[in-house]
Symmetry: C2
Subunit: 380 residues, 2 copies
């Protein structure tokens, strides 16, 4: 059913905010500018400009959500290629799909590794702390630039789901529907704790140099440890058992401090790969944005006004990082406001990674939901 | 009900193995010696020498299980003081209770920080890798030394529970009963993964110096990160929510990389405290012993022989580090061998820490179980 890369060969695009405003006022009170967003698009915007879907990426994601990246040496498929393309959940023969790298990131959008125009050197930790709301505000400028008044849908898993929720909170009149997946209204203390330990691992590495490591090499060991912690939380106990069990790399225990178990080798491989493709300071900034996120006080600041956005909320049974009770809290808050919200908990053993892996079940739910929203688009 | 420290003021004792054997043959094939074990005892051994209970400690525990440590500047209660003493679960007016620091540890027993007699310097990572079976073999020499032929009970939580299981596997004829608590027949890949990330955090710290840091200071930052990861796994999502929720240390977000949330402050406090009291190399050795442990192939090597040891297996509902399905696997294996095994899953929100905190429920179960075993001691 899934044809890899059928969204085509994709070229990343860049949008640097023109006036007004050159600077973005941040939630912290600080200003940031100039700002560039890296983004990709799939499919065509129709004449009515009412078929646009915005995808938010997760912690380590980027703008390359689908298709094959132009110019990449190896064929590099987008991180949600199984979901975006002709005939897929986000059918690019019908919809115009946009994905942009978040501010604070390191994949083409302005972040701590970008040049600070005031100093001519990378911002490092002089970069202001950003929030999910700031990320969404930046995206809004991109959506304006693309000439889209109202998005058909804002969707994403994990941090991408927070962006979907934040879009409704910040710009309810510009979002026809939202699909938050494997996400939460706020980080729990356990989620904060995992992020904090990851940050401590990075900052404990002397190669971090208080953030000023650019040109000198990354704090590789600390960042790899942070990523390894992350990977444990992305999988489930069961999926680890199915994938690795207690299989050894050699025939017997080494009785030394080396990689005995396959699961250890996998984590090291994932940790080492991550430090080659991700900036340590971006890791700090984005995890902090996740921890600061809190819409538990209300998805809208206007308690009198009903929520017009239609919702499809998806959770996965074995996801213990973003447990389904958190998705149910989203639905509960929406129902209190009489919003049109459906909830689906998918039976998967993949844990949090399920939002990237369970394409078939999600496709079924999402394509049906989008079809209805698209059809009803003039209905209200 | 619980009187703190009523096991009395306790003096730690040391037993250095006399011949035979001065050396212990290890599971790895290597030999280790001389070996000293630090241990404490509470209550009196009766004339029949049939009232002795051996307690196994967890990863970061020590021989000081109960009462007040003699000579300690501050009144230092044992780590299971709520369970050991007159009128408590392990009633020291009836039973003679023993707890020893494991080999590989850093609390008085021979471990990587001990002096290698061949070099006159600390072993560091020249210390041989030890297993739970090696720990138990060392304990057996102590039990011989104390003149005890058959233990009334071997008990412990987490790694202590593995020791209880290993005692039955290694010396079935010397164990009348066993109480494995919050433990498993083998580490799952998820448990191995958490341990491995902790080890990587320690070894990533340049202050680790390939293990040769003695006299130069600990790899404090790496060990603190390892301990912080541990603490997340010892608590439950719910107990973290109850203890911290999203409470801030200051009134507002700092918008800086500092401790915003109480849970972050708690983890740092716990990490910092740990590095002052625990040796980083011992952390590596003991976690490796945990990961190597695997009795899933059979608690006894003699498939024909029935298991005479009586079992009480305890798990806790919110313990996700050692989930109750692992305790049920122990029970299942015992039942297949027609062993007399009871299972109890205690409803607690404390997570893995529950074995240290849920004194009342455990006392009820254990005191009843021990009374019966002690009464029946001549029955079979």
């Amino acid at each position: 059913m899934t044809t890899h890369g059928n969204a085509g060969t994709i070229k990343v695009q860049y949008y640097t905010f023109a006036e007004p405003p050159k600077e973005l006022k941040l939630e912290s009170g600080q200003s940031l500018g100039p700002i560039t967003l890296a983004y990709e698009t799939y499919g065509e915007l129709n004449n009515e400009k009412n078929n646009a879907i915005l995808i938010g990426h997760a912690l380590s994601g980027d703008a390359h959500a689908a298709g094959l990246r132009e110019g990449a040496g190896v064929k590099e498929l987008g991180w949600w290629d199984s979901m975006i393309g002709p005939g897929k959940a986000f059918d690019t023969t019908k919809y115009f799909v946009i994905c942009s790298n978040v501010i604070g990131g390191c994949k083409g959008s302005t972040g701590p590794s970008s040049i600070n125009p005031k100093t001519g050197r990378p911002y490092a930790i002089d970069f202001p702390l950003i929030t999910i709301s700031d990320m969404v505000n930046a995206q809004r400028h991109l959506i304006d630039h693309l000439g889209i008044d109202k998005l058909l849908c804002v969707v994403g898993g994990s941090m991408g789901g927070m962006q979907a929720l934040q879009w409704v909170a910040s710009y309810p009149e510009r979002v026809r529907s939202a699909i938050p997946i494997a996400t939460a209204l706020k980080h729990s203390p356990q989620q904060i704790a995992f992020d904090e330990v990851g940050r401590q691992a990075v900052m404990a590495d002397p190669e971090w140099r208080e953030g000023n490591y650019y040109g000198l090499g990354q704090p590789e060991k600390g960042l790899a440890v942070a990523r390894m912690i992350g990977h444990i939380t992305y999988m489930s106990d069961q999926s680890m058992e199915e994938k690795f069990s207690r299989r050894l790399k050699e025939k017997n225990y080494s009785f030394r401090f080396k990689t005995d178990f396959e699961v250890e080798g996998y984590l090291r491989y994932k940790g080492d790969g991550f430090v080659r493709r991700f900036d340590a300071n971006s890791y700090l900034y984005i995890t902090k944005a996740l921890d600061y996120f809190d819409l538990s006080g209300g998805i809208t600041r206007h308690p009198g006004r009903p929520i017009d956005t239609k919702f499809l909320v998806i959770a996965f049974k074995s996801d213990w990082l973003y447990p389904s009770y958190q998705a149910q809290e989203i639905v509960k808050q929406l129902k209190i406001r009489h919003a049109d919200a459906s909830y689906c908990e998918i039976k998967s053993t993949y844990g949090h990674d399920a939002f990237l892996l369970e394409a078939e079940e999600q496709t079924h739910l999402i394509s049906h939901f989008l079809k209805k929203v698209y059809k009803d688009k003039e209905g209200r």
